[in-house]
Amino acid sequence: MRPRRRDWEILGLEPGADLAAVKRAYRHRRALYDGESLATYTLLEDDERRKIQAEIDAAFRRIVGEEPPSERLGMPAEAYDETDGIDVSAATPPDPSHQPGLYLRHHRQHLGLDLQQIAAETRISPAILSKIEHGEREGLPAPVFVRGFVLQYARALGLSDAEKLANAFLERMDG
């Protein structure tokens, strides 16, 4: 199937752009229309969103001649930085009150960010961030500091329920 002019438009590219540019544009567009992006969250109805997502996928298929990357929601492959085999990137996020750490990790991966990027933003070490994500108490400082870390982490992700999350996390530390 040959790409149409419209396919390039859908990805915001000039016809004939190279493969790397196509992949970048595809990821950007998919992330933009994934339902979590602030820029489109209030703009589109669900059916419109699904239609646009399908158009983006179809444009990719026609231009590249293969299926779009399997990683969900336009995330770069690097976002899957963990090796423990738990796919927290699944569509339903973990319950924030029971698994606040995994909930944070889900949202981080959803945004395509790695621990280093969060560390740069919050000035909390990646090791601590990882312990928070996995709910490991060993090696974490006193709860009052941990509370601050969780708040900062959640805010860096733009989560609105940072307070609730920090409380849930502390409850689990006590328990």
Partner: protein, 312 residues
């Protein structure tokens, strides 16, 4: 009214109108600091407080009781708009205050609006910055549309983004509606409006497509008109990486969904010094020249002052 204005605008000051559907996103603070930043680079700037219902630029500039204001001009107590442009504590920066504007002035009629526009484009200045009120009333939209560039302000919150899209859509439809002197175009649009349900006309792009189907020439004229709609965007109160992306993401979404080119002029960081400057009643651009907010604002001012700058 508009054609006459446009002819004058070619040699007059660059006119920037700052709007955005939502109140409290920082329009007035941005207008003041943009004005002060442009003035600091030597440009002559006039700020016009057109937030007729809730004017407060004078307070942000430390002018307790403006001796004259916009309503003196509208009520013909003075002859020229320039007569009510008062100096401020910032060099090169004058203010047309909206303070104590008469309540009925919150809705100036067609003639008054035209007169204000003519006088704004006749001001002896390099830049005029109009601070619009919140909301998408026709008055706000008209001032937004006649400016050299209408600038929308959003903060990274779903409600603000939503209102910004609503505002853009309203401004765009207003522009298309006003630009129909030719009966052929008007009748094509009326036919579409009558035949197509509102759900199928959600975006300007839908309207253009439908008109095109009814009458190709009328559709082409609409496309030409639409291409002159070039609003800009400033993202205020950005706190983290995702917020930095918002401006460009909104540009992309606008082009994809509405077919509107929305240029992001810049992103201003959340900065505690801004609140402090407001309580000190002087622009941050004067008090805290090295703050992150003022640095980012300077970048935007340089862009608007560039001699090569033209609507894309």
């Amino acid at each position: 009214m508009i054609e006459e204005y446009e002819a004058a605008a070619a040699k007059g000051p660059r006119i920037w109108a700052i709007g955005g559907g939502k109140g409290g996103v920082g329009k007035s603070v941005i207008a003041t600091n943009l004005g002060a930043s442009l003035a600091a680079s030597g440009a002559r700037v006039v700020l016009v407080d057109a937030d007729l219902g809730g004017a407060n630029l004078h307070t942000l500039l430390g002018v307790a009781t403006p001796p004259t204001n916009l309503s003196d001009f509208v009520a013909r107590r003075v002859k020229k708009l320039a007569d009510v442009a008062i100096p401020t504590t910032v060099d090169n920066l004058r203010l047309v205050s909206g303070a104590k504007a008469l309540l009925e002035m919150a809705n100036p009629n067609y003639g008054q609006k035209g007169k204000i526009l003519r006088h704004i484009s006749a001001l002896d200045a390099d830049h005029v910055i109009i601070d619009l009120g919140a909301g998408s009333a026709f008055n706000v939209l008209d001032f937004f549309l006649i400016a050299r560039r209408g600038i929308l302000v959003v903060v990274p919150e779903a409600t603000s983004v939503e209102n910004a899209y609503h505002f853009l859509k309203a401004a765009y439809f207003r522009k298309l509606k006003r630009a129909q002197p030719r009966p052929q175009i008007r009748s094509a649009i009326q036919q579409v409006m009558a035949e197509v349900s509102p759900q199928d006309l959600r975006t300007p792009r839908d309207l253009v497509a439908r008109v095109m189907a009814v009458d190709h020439d009328a559709g082409a004229a609409l496309v030409a008109e639409a291409s002159t709609f070039n609003p800009s965007l400033i993202v205020n109160c950005a706190e983290h990486a995702e917020h930095q992306r918002l401006g460009n993401d909104m540009s992309t979404a606008c082009l994809d969904y509405f077919g509107i080119r929305l240029e992001c002029l810049g992103t201003l960081p959340a900065d505690r010094l801004v609140a402090r400057s407001v309580s000190r009643r002087s622009p941050a651009a004067v008090l805290y020249r090295r703050s992150p907010f003022v640095n980012a604002m300077r970048g935007i001012a340089e862009r608007l002052a560039s001699p090569n700058w033209r609507p894309s």
